[in-house]
Amino acid sequence: MEIELNSMRKEDEVSLVLGNLFESYGYKKYLMSRFEEYSLYMENKDFLISDKIITFTDAGGKLMALKPDVTLSIVKNAKAEKGVRKLYYIENVYRPARNSPEFRESEQIGLEAIGDIDGYTVYEVTRLALSALAAVDKNFILDISHVGFVSALIEGLGLDYEANEEIYGYVTGKNLHGLRAAAARLGISDVALAALETLTSVSGTLSEGIEKARKAVMNDGMRVALEELATLDKALRSAAYYDNVRLDFSFVNDTGYYNGIIFTGFTPAVPRPVLSGGRYDKLMKKFAKDAGAIGFAVYVDEIVSYYSRKAEFDQDVFLEYAEGADISAVAAAADAIRAEGKSVSVGSAPLADGKYRKIMRFDGEKLTEVKNA
């Protein structure tokens, strides 16, 4: 059967396309239970988008949670093995809607690669992120950043925790005036301030951005990070949608979990990220797993709110039958229209708010066109 993507809801279309895409790259679907012990989330609540979780006590008296996230469960169950385990998931998660205290069930699609992560795996996952965004909207932007590059600069300044947090705030807010005022107050050197300013204002394609960022390199940590970005850039150049990739250090996921390359995806219709992910070896370490990991998630709930159904009509044809018409004759008439590849809704009268391309009437013997939009 041929599937008509245009008549599907956006979220169904995206999960179908992404499922096929991930399978074709050798990622296996990971099915998980709806519940998980609450302690898993409590111990890693900074990793979650929100620390509000729906909990309940199970029959054995254990405190359980409706899962707010999938990555933690996958990491918890990861085994130490040779090679790279590649998984993807299409799961419902339970957490408050952004900017709202109400809980929501929302679909999340994502993939994880766990094991000996090398340059190729980083490239493959980034490329899949590009394809995933293209499935949502061809006119997308993928911002790439490197946690190590930013943290090596900021933590290399030798300031205390509070000052570091303040500087991170200016970098993620592209706040140059705040940065300058803080530099004067905290005694940050002119060289370091210049580097911070470069970091805050880097823009352009990935390769242009990397060239600009070179000026900011102040220590080995930054040099290594930039080399990783350059390796990824070189590999991605021949990939489709390379022009949609930007270097932007204003996205810094939690540095306690993420370490290397991270990325954030946007489409024009949605005012928040629709995809985010990156390298999270540090999370693996927290679970005492001796392996690297990289992955991303697509926030289908954000897509749902901003992309309406593309099709102009509910169905191509509404087939209205006369009272007492022979049922099998009605069915045969409808099947004949379906055989032309059209969708047909059959009933004794069309819905008042229904949108049909055509309304046909079947009197028991022949079809007549009543309305053609």
Binding site: N99, N139, I141, D143, G173, K174, N175, L176, H177, G178, S203, R246, D248, S250, F266, P268, V270, P271, R272, P273
Partner: protein, 206 residues
């Protein structure tokens, strides 16, 4: 087309004057009328006037690509936006004020009346002071006069209102001015337009 959310009132007038200075056409918006949306199609910019505390809401939801908002609102609500420029106007301070002659009693929690519970809470947490917040929406000065609170945390511009009510500034918390903010998602797609506007404005607010 760049969509700009401006806070109704004095700040909007000042911002429009700045925009006119760097060459944008603001004729239509400065006419006396009740319209809420104004378009300068030649300049590729569309303005709308909203309640000051709602500017961040319009920007976070992407219907406004950029907006002008007081730093007080940014500190209070901590919206997830870019803060691209200090417009250096609408300057004032957020301060703790009390009735003249007030002496703080450190043996009990401090009762604080304010429109900015977030800022007040953060400030007193930084000095390890136990407080009780009384959230008000206006005429904050009335609270200590009537004995509902010990102090207030509020915006102080000239200090005239405080003086007339026999009050004065106790401690300054932070300086405030108007900021140009941008929606993080819009910025990805309209970076060039936004950066052009920012660099033009940066020249005149020096």
């Amino acid at each position: 087309m760049l969509n700009v959310a401006l806070p109704k009132g004095r700040l909007a007038d000042k911002t429009l004057k700045l925009l006119a200075e760097v060459g944008y056409n603001i004729d239509e918006i400065t006419k006396e009328n009740r319209k809420l949306v104004f378009e300068d199609s030649a300049g590729g910019i569309c303005y709308f006037l909203v309640k000051p505390s709602d500017v961040t809401v319009y920007v976070e939801n992407g219907v406004a690509d950029i907006g002008v908002v007081g730093k007080d609102i940014l500190l209070e609500y901590a919206p997830d936006v870019y803060e691209l420029l200090d417009l250096k106007m609408g300057k004032c301070r957020v301060a703790v004020a009390a009735k003249n002659g007030y002496r703080e009693d450190f043996e009990r929690p401090l009762r604080v009346a304010t429109k900015f519970p977030g800022i007040a809470r953060r400030y007193y947490a930084s000095v390890n002071r136990d407080i009780e917040i009384i959230k008000l929406n206006g005429s904050i000065e009335l609270a200590p006069i009537l004995g509902m609170s010990d102090v207030i945390v509020d915006i102080v511009e000239t200090g005239t209102t405080l003086k007339e009510n026999d009050m004065s500034v106790f401690t300054e918390i932070t300086d405030i001015s108007a900021r140009l903010i941008a929606c993080k998602a819009s910025y990805q797609f309209k970076r060039a337009e936004i950066e052009t506007l920012v660099s033009k404005l940066r020249e005149v607010v020096k």
